[in-house]
């Protein structure tokens, strides 16, 4: 536990169902270990049902509904993957608007695996370069983005990775970006 991110509050936004467990738990722990205050946000109160690939995993307490959260209160946003999670999240206009506001305000956003579907929905992909789970490549390119196959890609305030195997460097880069803010 360090105090590098002391005083920084970070939002992790997931749907109430379908997030990839390790992609929620990994960043949550890494950011807490760096001294940040971390909140799990979701469209509904209660819990987030996480998955290990397609098997149900742990449940996480929702700290705040996304409609009760203000972007001003957070230094950064982390979007985990899991195929069903962004597929649900992108159909919630308030969640999508919340994500867009981080970009409008030039705040750090980390997105891993299938999470960039929510970025497509927020209309923030055009002209950006990013990585993701490979199935999203065509959707990202059709949205005007450039897709790269890298463990982590950093472009200004957007940090992206492909999959759980990339979590160590993904979490490291999110912590570094928040620390540098």
């Amino acid at each position: 536990m360090s105090s590098r991110l002391k005083g920084k509050r970070i939002a992790i936004l997931a749907d109430n169902e379908g997030v990839e467990e390790i992609e929620l738990k990994g960043p949550l722990q890494a950011l807490k270990d760096a001294g940040a205050s971390v909140e799990v946000l979701a469209p509904e109160e209660g819990e987030v049902q996480a998955f290990n690939h397609l098997d149900k995993g742990s449940r996480f307490t929702v700290d705040r509904k996304v409609t009760d959260a203000s972007v001003d209160d957070y230094a950064a946003l982390v979007l985990p993957g899991g195929v069903a999670n962004p597929d649900n999240l992108r159909t919630d206009p308030e969640a999508v608007g919340f994500v867009r506001e981080f970009f409008d305000n030039g705040k750090t956003v980390g997105a891993i695996c299938h999470a960039p579907w929510t970025l497509i929905e927020a209309g923030v992909i055009d002209g950006r370069t990013l990585t993701s789970w490979p199935s999203l490549r065509t959707d990202i390119e059709n949205a005007g983005g450039t897709w790269v196959d890298q463990e982590v890609h950093i472009e200004n305030d957007l940090i992206t990775s492909r999959k759980p195997d990339d979590l160590e460097i993904f979490c490291h880069e999110v912590v570094e970006a928040v620390a540098a803010d």
Copy 2:
């Protein structure tokens, strides 16, 4: 059981994991009831693990690997949904090529729910009008398609529906299209 589709062979293509059970079982039964011979195709031999939303459901025997199948042998193709199914299938170039060939040959294709992701990957969406599970709307529009919110939409040889609730009319229209060929 009728004999309207006697002598017609239909392919249902799904990934080995993640298909929405009722969207495989419904068309399979409807087409068999109309007298067709129906084969379940998948990237790998063995079984298809179906899901009821995010809960594991039945397993279905794979009749043929997609790489061992020839489009010439089928009158039509049905693509069921389930969020993980097309997300996997679209990363298999041989499955995607198989789908594209049905369009190249002007054969009937029925796609429901999340299945149009595979159509996006096959590059056959541009200029077409279709429906789907609503989360795919932006991806379809970014691929050059026009998205409509209808129980079923028929445009030339492409029949699309949104979700399990639309299965009755979806199956009816697929049967009618094959009967009219």
